[in-house]
Symmetry: C2
Subunit: 360 residues, 2 copies
DNA sequence: GGCCGATGTGAGATCGATCTCTTATGCGAT
DNA sequence: ATCGCATAAGAGATCGATCTCACATCGGCC
């Protein structure tokens, strides 16, 4: 038997290190590193020897050691409230693709909308020395963990949120415009009793008034809807506005409340995917058919909407691109840019026919 | 005002290291590490001083250095074909939760079902020195990258797949049983013309025969369906079996083919989420109503099914638990267990009424 | 009084790759 | 023949936390 016991089965070797490669190739560690890393200068002949040695030993660089020495991990951290939401999921796909294109890995953590877990996630990612952070903050008030406390700290870019008076880049969509266009369309079609179903953080229950700590997207959508009313010279009845935590149960409850009013709303603007599902469920309970008994427009074009019957109108956002743009901004900061920017992407109304025309 | 230069804006400090904490607390690095890491022995008094020093400097451990020295990253790598599939997504949530409960981070990479990208993902994760790998392999044939080549290499557990004659743990569901029960139910209700729509890897097109390299889940579901036919003394017409890549377009095409046959199938067993969507889309094109004109049963209880109209019957699997169990097995191996196991979780048929009873 | 063991702390090596700095070699120009 | 310069490769420091081992101190006990 050999020196390391090649009994019957596999090879019980330890992982090969750079120094092992160097020994086999009969060069120094520095030269081996140059040959493998593609920097500095190496003779083609030497390079060849080193590459062969590395292959024969099945050498794999130790990323930890590399990052430790080089100071870069080539990894970005992503902190979101909920990966299973299809809006978030698509953004994440955009993020991962854009990051990978630039040679960066993405480390995604989710917080279920809990600020405490968000703080924890930021801490962990900083301990892992990620080169930058992409965050969808759960709160507009509790943001001290987003403040850079030192020089050369990994930069942060906010995704789908902005926070006023905060020196951070934001990449967002035009939520005001989207909600405005959606509600204006409802009004144009003759709807007057329009329920607004706005989704907030999951831990909020179902309530009538705006929660104190509401993220920017929700605020903007509420403002957009209100603006459409104002422009049409209509008064927005506060009783037709509901805020609900973005989970199935509360969304349905809130929708039930809206539909229980007299007169019953002829239309509902659902502020996100969960609200749309809640509105659908409540309508089904009451045996209301969409379009005929109740018009409906949602926010975010989720994949299931492609096959859903009846087809539902929504405000669509360039979600995948949102993630890509956020990565672009983050990489710019990682590479030393200091100028702050707020990128805003357009939203579009896709009318699939779930809005009845009451004028006819 | 404090001692460290609070000019006007932020503090331009570099990141504090352990040695800085040690200096402030007036102890050695070793002692500071003990106090912070909670190992070895330290006087309560010393511990207190160190903790205060760390807090005052806003010290954060450098995870890279720690992992490098300790040899453990407390991270598991997860390699899946597609995170946006709701089955995968739920498993991932189970994985992340179970891993977090044991103090492990999860690093999720997706491959879009491409074996080359899978190899690459495994390489990257090994370079990052993850402590273990959870993989949903894309192929049954090209698996050389799943073989451990050395001692003490990070263990691998297969998720939702098994590969025969391979010394790896698998955590799977009873796909045979699920498909068997689903098709038996169709047969019991009097269906004889039953289309089988089986989803394979995304890059496969739409084809009639089983692709050579089909993953275990699909093979088992096909076998389960066939067994139900055999038990009922029926012959399975090969023309009623279609394999399609798991993407919208091919799924719809395959479903169209099935529904174009004469006589038209009275029922379709859709082998996964995408196939179910494909079958729905094709049925809609032909204006077939579910239940009345076409019975349907799917595989995997996706979230959108909760509100989908008409309600659809499916084979449901304990997806979240699948992820958790996989983590359990992986942690066992990381902690030195060498016994191999194949864990199989039960499946259930949920009948929501999309299967007509032709006997009446 | 001296020895023992327990206890708390420090010095220094270590993990593995990279980076800086230095040295050796070769070739052309003067 | 010598100098200068470019090129290739090596030596050693470095990143930051942890771990081993050695050392100091102290109380108890014979």
């Amino acid at each position: 038997m050999g020196s390391d016991g090649d009994h019957t089965t596999a090879k019980p070797k330890r992982a090969a290190r750079l120094i092992d490669v160097a020994r086999v190739a009969k060069v120094s560690r520095a030269t081996a590193a140059r040959a493998l890393g593609g920097y500095g200068v190496v003779t083609p002949d030497t390079q060849q020897r080193v590459l062969e040695a590395a292959a024969s030993l099945d050498y794999r660089v130790n990323d930890l050691a590399r990052s430790m020495r080089s100071g870069r991990t080539l990894t970005i951290g992503v902190v979101v409230a909920d990966i299973s939401n299809s809006f978030t999921l698509t953004s994440i796909r955009g993020i991962i693709a854009a990051a990978a294109g630039a040679g960066y890995q993405s480390l995604v953590l989710n917080t279920d909308g809990d600020v405490e877990r968000e703080r924890e996630a930021v801490r962990v990612l900083r301990e892992k020395r990620v080169d930058g952070l992409l965050i969808v903050p759960a709160s507009r008030m509790e943001v001290e963990h987003l403040v850079s406390t030192r020089r050369h700290e990994a930069p942060i870019v906010l995704l789908d949120r902005f926070i006023d008076g905060f020196a951070l880049d934001s990449v967002i969509t035009d939520d005001f415009g989207g909600a405005h266009a959606a509600v204006r369309l409802l009004i144009e079609r003759g709807h007057r009793q329009i329920g607004l179903l706005l989704g907030t953080a999951a831990h909020h229950g179902h309530q009538e008034s705006e929660p104190v700590d509401t993220v920017s997207t929700v605020v903007e959508r509420a403002r957009g809807a209100a603006a459409a009313f104002a422009e049409a010279g209509l008064v927005l009845d506060p009783g037709l506005v509901r805020y609900a935590g973005s989970v199935a149960a509360t969304a349905v409850a809130a929708a039930r409340h809206l539909l229980a009013r007299t007169p019953r709303p002829t239309a509902i603007f659902a502020g996100n995917e969960e609200m749309l599902l809640g509105a659908l469920a409540a309508a089904r309970e009451l045996d209301l058919s969409i379009d005929r008994d109740l018009s409906l427009i949602g926010f975010d074009d989720a994949p299931w909407l492609a096959v859903f019957q009846p087809a539902l109108s929504v405000v669509s956002r360039p979600t995948y691109e949102l993630g890509q743009q956020a990565v672009n901004r983050l990489l710019a900061h990682i590479n030393g840019e200091s100028r702050l920017r707020r990128v805003e992407l357009k939203t579009t109304v896709i009318d699939r026919g779930s809005i009845a025309d009451l004028r006819s």
